[in-house]
């Protein structure tokens, strides 16, 4: 069971989470949908262990078993596409690199540096890097920014095929329509949107 209960967190004067509780399914793809700045990213970062709430309880796999796709691509300008995947995979799994590249539709770009990729390509690389890292929970913050609809469909299929639950934040209506569950949020402070059970 993945759940957060009574989370409270502020950035200075700004209350981002206040007594926020949510339970997530243990399998499938769940989309967190809501306006920018409502606190979705903060919630994902709390689940990844990167933010420490002032109070509340998080029941989720430990951070070392969690894979987070950051809101920003956070690619290394000095590493090639292939090296980005090799960096997160143990050497014994380097043979998987072509498969991950194929998933990101970046085959043929192995030797390219991020600066020579388009925004969508960079996002796909960041996404497959997070997926290649693996874990018991995938937290994906806006994974489809700049990605075209056809690729969003294919990537959502791949996410649904993962063994672990996927929690992603997205504004894309397409991603919402393809998800197993959509949680509509509002804020700040973060809360379930009206009509959401």
């Amino acid at each position: 069971m993945i759940s957060v209960s009574h989370l409270t967190l502020s950035y200075g004067e700004k209350r981002v989470l206040e007594d926020f509780s949510l339970t997530l399914p243990e399998r499938g793809v769940t989309v967190l949908s809501g306006p920018s700045g409502c606190g979705k990213t903060t919630l994902l970062r709390c689940l990844a262990g990167l933010e420490r709430p002032r109070s509340g309880r998080i029941q989720a796999p430990p951070p070392r078993e969690t894979s987070l796709l950051f809101q920003e691509d956070r690619l290394f300008p000095w590493r090639t596409v292939e090296q980005h995947l090799m960096d997160v995979l143990p050497q014994s799994r380097w043979a998987e690199v072509p498969r991950w590249l194929a998933l990101a539709e970046l085959t043929g770009e192995e030797g390219s540096f991020p600066a020579s990729l388009s925004g969508g390509m960079r996002r796909r690389l960041a996404l497959v890097r997070a997926l290649a890292l693996g874990g018991q929970l995938y937290l994906l913050d806006e994974p489809f920014t700049g990605v075209d609809p056809a690729r969003v469909r294919r990537l959502m299929d791949a996410l649904r095929a993962l063994d672990a639950p996927v929690l992603l934040s997205s504004h894309e209506t397409l991603a919402c329509s393809l998800a197993d569950q959509v949680i509509c949020l509002d804020g700040p402070p973060l809360r379930l949107a009206k009509g959401q059970v």
């Binding site: 990844a48 990167l50 951070p63 070392r64 987070l68 950051f70 920003e72 691509d73 956070r74 690619l75 290394f76 300008p77 000095w78 590493r79 090639t80 960096d87 997160v88 390219s112 540096f113 991020p114 600066a115 020579s116 960079r122 890292l133």
Partner: protein
């Protein structure tokens, strides 16, 4: 239009040195006029005279051993100063207390006249070690300052990613810190190189090691062989430039690794 480009590059490469050689030639000629043929070579020799002196010196094996001895001393001093400066920079960034502890000492090292250091180190160690120690002392603050700035300027988002993606400490250094520090290392190398050579050769002039460019410069001064003094100075400049080129090549940014 490759040809005009090549011509332009060749001109921009050759014209400035040619201009300054012309200025030097004119200056030497004016000095010769002023002293009315009573030995202008003592004050300002012609460029050709210096070149001939350099060729004459280069024919003797001692010239090469002397240059090699100075090069080895200064390179060793630089390496020592760079390693120590890097370690201190890393420590400085680990805690504010380390910064409080090191910053004043580094400031003192930077403000102390190099001659004071040379004489003190000469008292404490053998004359052959002084140039290396002095070169290291001059390099240390430059490396410390640049690397401290570089470590602080390392992208926090990449460091957070390294933590979240469970990179080991060594992997974080290799994939995040070292590439981020490259521009700072390049800048430190360029500044430190000139300082190391200037101070190292100055130390050799004062300490007179058995083999050393500085000792040869001192001898040339004492025997009024100004052309030799110029020739040895040219050797220092050449070695410094070659070392700088080699170092910057070693730490240049990998191809394509432009900032996003």
């Amino acid at each position: 239009m490759a040809c005009p480009d090549r011509l332009d590059r060749a001109l921009s490469l050759l014209l400035p040195p040619a201009f300054w050689l012309g200025v030097w030639q004119l200056g030497a000629w004016l000095v010769e006029l002023h002293v009315e043929g009573r030995g202008n070579e003592l004050l300002l020799p012609y460029p050709a005279t210096v070149l001939l002196a350099l060729f004459r010196l280069a024919r003797s094996p001692e010239f090469w051993w002397t240059a090699l001895a100075s090069l080895a001393r200064i390179a060793a001093g630089m390496a020592g100063g760079a390693v120590l400066g890097g370690l201190l920079a890393a420590l400085t960034c680990t805690s504010p207390w380390c910064r409080r502890l090191f910053a004043p000492v580094i400031r003192i090292v930077r403000a102390t006249p190099v001659v004071s250091f040379i004489l003190l180190v000469l008292l404490w160690t053998g004359r052959d070690q002084v140039p290396a120690v002095i070169a290291g002392l001059m390099v240390l603050p430059v490396v410390w300052e640049n690397l401290t700035q570089g470590i602080r300027a390392t992208d926090g988002q990449l460091l957070e990613l390294a933590r979240a993606y469970r990179f080991s400490r060594w992997k974080t250094v290799r994939l995040v810190y070292l590439p981020s520090l490259r521009p700072h290392l390049r800048s430190a190398a360029a500044t430190a190189m000139g300082l190391a050579w200037k101070s190292g050769v100055a130390a050799e002039v004062l300490c007179l090691p058995r083999l050393g460019i500085g000792a040869q410069i001192s001898r040339a001064k004492q025997t009024f062989e100004t052309a030799d003094l110029f020739a040895w100075t040219a050797v220092v400049i050449l070695l410094s430039l070659l070392m700088e080129r080699a170092l910057t090549r070693l730490i240049r940014r990998p191809e394509g690794g432009k900032p996003l």
